[in-house]
């Protein structure tokens, strides 16, 4: 039943975006997510759309896999859009029927919120689609490294994350094996009420927990045997070097979002001159 579970959604390729440094991609992704909240006009969204189209084009990730991640939040999207449509009470009244009133401002807000959420998901899934989980954790570790001054355990945190990642496949296999073993002894997971089904999972969880502890102990022994002593005087084999791709990526994002920030910051001064910019 767990055969087809794959962890993460990495899409292997050799593209421009794939070859960028994980740290840079992480930072740019954060910048993107913050920046998208400063976009308040449809012209701004056009900018962002162009930027995303460019990024997706250079990542060689098929649009289908990106839309797949948008599918995950469809319910949220519909809900926020509906709330915006029905609860905004400013602007011109368009529809007045029974208890529902729809104003034109509501439609505009709903449209912008919809775009914002979709672009948030598209932007962040572009990061996970083009970066392996391993690279992501290594990137996170080196970004968090300066926090060691305030005793933040960056290395330990990254190690915990990468251990979790590398144990997921074997734990899935183990769960599968236990389920089959319990089924072979006549366990029934598919019939009965909710409570009964939940109870049926106890004989899976307990062996899984026990074996989890056993694995943890064996791993601790293996790590001890390989001279692990935390982050003290530890070195790293992977060198993370910034290349020209990172420079290009950073420049593009910075230009796009500087424009957005400038437009946002000067709203009062320019809105009379070029009103279409703020639609």
């Amino acid at each position: 039943m767990f055969r087809d579970v794959t962890f993460g959604q990495y899409y292997p390729s050799n593209s421009f975006v794939h070859k960028m440094d994980a740290r840079v991609k992480l930072l740019l992704c954060i910048l993107f997510m913050v920046g998208i909240f400063f976009v308040t006009s449809f012209v701004g969204f056009l900018w962002v759309t162009l930027f995303l189209a460019l990024a997706i084009g250079f990542s060689k990730v098929p649009l289908k896999s990106i839309l797949k991640s948008v599918k995950g939040i469809v319910v949220l999207l519909v809900l926020t859009a509906l709330l915006n449509v029905f609860f905004t009470k400013t602007g011109n009244l368009l529809v007045d029927w029974w208890i529902f009133q729809i104003y034109d401002d509501g439609l505009i807000y709903a449209g912008k919120m919809f775009l914002r959420l979709v672009y948030l998901v598209v932007g962040s899934s572009l990061l996970t689609l083009t970066t392996t989980p391993v690279d992501l954790t290594h990137g996170m570790e080196s970004l968090l490294k300066p926090l060691r001054i305030i005793k933040f355990p960056a290395h330990e945190l990254a190690l915990i994350m990468s251990l979790t990642l590398s144990f997921i496949p074997s734990l899935i296999e183990e769960t599968d094996r236990i389920i089959r073993a319990q089924k072979a002894r006549g366990a029934d997971f598919d019939t009965g009420g909710l409570v009964q089904r939940a109870k049926a999972f106890v004989p899976i969880l307990i062996p899984l927990l026990v074996s989890g502890f056993r694995r943890a102990e064996e791993l601790a022994n293996a790590m001890n045997s390989r001279c692990y002593e935390g982050s003290t005087h530890r070195t790293k084999m992977r060198v993370q070097k910034l290349g020209w791709r990172d420079a290009v990526g950073i420049s593009v994002v910075v230009v796009v979002f500087s424009a957005i920030f400038v437009v946002h910051a000067t709203k009062g001064a320019w809105s009379n001159l070029v009103p279409w910019l703020y639609f």
């Binding site: 251990l163 590398s166 064996e218 791993l219 022994n221 045997s225 390989r226 692990y228 070195t235 084999m237």
Partner: protein
């Protein structure tokens, strides 16, 4: 030269029954053993005989309750020397999945040298050499969990080798593998031994002890006998007592010899034995 020296070592485990009363269970009791530089030592015994406990005593994962374990003259009970000891005694365990720290092969092999604080350029070189030693150089960038059991275990050996130990302890590292995987791992162990590495192989497959210099038979926490493989195989009373059997080829050779065939009763090689039998059959 004795590089590992165990003197009257005992280690006990505590277990609790359902009422919470603790009782002592023997891990190993009163074991004395010395291992020489360059030796291929095989530790054999059935399940629960204490061989894994003994292995964990060799690099200070467990400490003796009584007695002393010395590695290159350093007492494992001396906590200030523990990293020095573990640098000298590399260890590979039974389940390959439970000793992978990183999911990419080369990252995992690099884990040990990274812990030692070795400069980056040297780590790269060590990882390459270690992977070459186990014949897995082409798999450096692969994801570890997608490899076969034997391959994973060879990666684990490479991980130990990257620390550049003097002794390699294989704690039932072949137990979970299929025959092919066992052959791979054993081949690597033998090859390492030929290039000067001291190897301690812990196993319950008697076929694997054939090439050992020294066989230590364990039973219920005690050393039942030490000797060359042939000395052990010939001691039928001992084997029956500890519940082990000589390899099939050895058993067959002995039986044929007893039945009056002109076969060397000390023959250990199945192919050689087969050839001999064919020869004899053709003659008759």
């Amino acid at each position: 030269m004795d590089i590992i020296q165990l003197t009257n070592v005992s280690h006990y485990y505590k277990t609790y029954d359902e009422e919470g009363n603790s009782s002592k269970v023997v891990g190993v009791e009163n074991v004395s053993l010395s291992i020489k530089q360059g030796q291929f030592v095989a530790l054999v015994g059935h399940n629960g005989c204490g061989k894994s406990t003994l292995a964990k005593l060799l690099n200070g994962l467990l400490l003796p309750d009584t007695g002393k374990v010395e590695v290159f003259g350093m007492d494992t009970a001396d906590r200030s020397k523990i990293f020095e000891i573990r640098k000298n005694v590399g260890m590979v365990f039974q389940n390959p999945d439970n000793q992978m720290v990183e999911s990419i092969v080369e990252d995992d092999v690099a884990f040990g040298p990274e812990n030692l604080g070795i400069p980056q350029a040297e780590i790269v070189e060590r990882v390459q050499t270690a992977l070459q030693q186990v014949g897995m150089a082409d798999f450096a960038k692969r994801t570890a969990h997608k490899l076969s059991g034997g391959q994973k275990q060879r990666i684990a050996i490479a991980g130990a080798l990257a620390i550049r130990p003097n002794v390699l302890v294989l704690d039932e590292s072949t137990a979970m593998l299929d025959p092919l995987g066992r052959k791979e791992v054993l081949g690597v162990a033998k090859q390492l031994n030929q290039s000067g590495m001291t190897v301690v192989l812990i196993t319950h497959f008697m076929e694997e002890v054939l090439d050992a210099d020294l066989v230590v038979v364990m039973n219920e926490g005690h050393v039942a006998k030490t000797g060359t493989p042939m000395e052990i195989f010939n001691d039928e009373q001992l084997l029956a007592e500890v519940g082990l059997q000589a390899p099939r080829a050895v058993q067959l050779a002995k039986k044929l010899h007893k039945a009056g065939w002109d076969v060397d009763s000390n023959c250990t090689d199945a192919t050689q034995l087969g050839g001999k039998v064919c020869q004899l059959l053709r003659k008759n």
